[in-house]
């Protein structure tokens, strides 16, 4: 399946882009997406415990992904 990875703030700068397409096997989880992304040069700085939102909702690492999901990597937030 394919999911769309989104990067923001420091993660976006490390990625050099605000979005990437990821190819994952069936049954892949949020944890698998994090592992895949961390193999990309620069993105090894993203922690394994990175917070991820799937389709705009915060999702724990065991969350199963589906084809077409939007998987956002969320650095520690600092709004307000």
């Amino acid at each position: 399946m394919r999911v769309r990875a989104l990067f923001f703030a420091s993660y976006r700068e490390w990625a050099g882009t605000d979005a990437l397409e990821l190819r994952l096997g069936e049954g892949a989880t949020v944890a698998d997406a994090v592992t895949l992304v961390r193999r990309r040069p620069g993105l090894e700085r993203i922690p394994e415990s990175a917070v991820v939102a799937v389709n705009e909702e915060y999702a724990p690492s065991e969350t199963a992904l589906r084809d077409g999901d939007e998987v956002a990597f969320i650095p520690p937030v600092s709004g307000g």
């Binding site: 923001f8 991820v52 909702e57 999702a59 650095p75 937030v77 709004g79 307000g80």
Partner: protein
């Protein structure tokens, strides 16, 4: 009434206040977050705010609706600005109207505390020496649905404001 928006233009606090309140309301509390010239001992010249806009509006909406469920509140209106802000600019405005002031104060406080912990919004401070850095920030709790659905936490006051 619930209104939330991520905006890339200056926030008009008076316009936000006009969005809330009706005949049954005796209290309006408006909170404004503004860009400070100093943070953690450094001189700040500007702040660049970035948001995951669609999700940020979703999270703010949820926070506003939770506040209406936890307190007797008529209206909640929230605007958060993104882009480059100067010292003194308003980065966030929250207007709450309620029949009684106790609910208005409490709801306002919970909304800003949760916004700071949960909304996917980031700021990069630019300093007088020319450097710029993303603030360290708060790691949102990755619960099953969205982070922290309870409106009970009063939060501690971070360095942000």
């Amino acid at each position: 009434m619930t209104y939330v928006a991520i905006v890339d233009r200056p926030i008009d606090p008076a316009a936000l206040v006009r969005r809330v309140g009706g005949e049954g309301d005796g209290a309006v509390v408006l909170f404004l977050g503004t860009v400070r010239s100093r943070n953690e001992g450094r001189t700040v010249t500007a702040i660049e705010y970035e948001a995951y806009r669609s999700m940020a509006e979703r999270v703010l909406c949820e926070i506003a609706l939770d506040a209406c469920r936890s307190y007797i509140v008529s209206d909640v209106a929230i605007e958060h600005r993104v882009g480059r802000l100067a010292v003194g600019d308003v980065s966030v405005a929250i207007a709450v109207a309620a029949p009684h002031r106790d609910d208005a104060y409490r709801a306002s406080r919970v909304v800003i505390d949760r916004l700071k912990r949960e909304a996917p919004i980031w700021k990069k401070e630019e300093y007088a020496e020319g450097e710029a850095t993303w603030l360290s920030g708060v790691t949102p709790a990755a619960t099953g649905t969205s982070a922290g659905t309870s409106a009970t936490a009063q939060g501690t006051d971070g360095p942000g404001d």
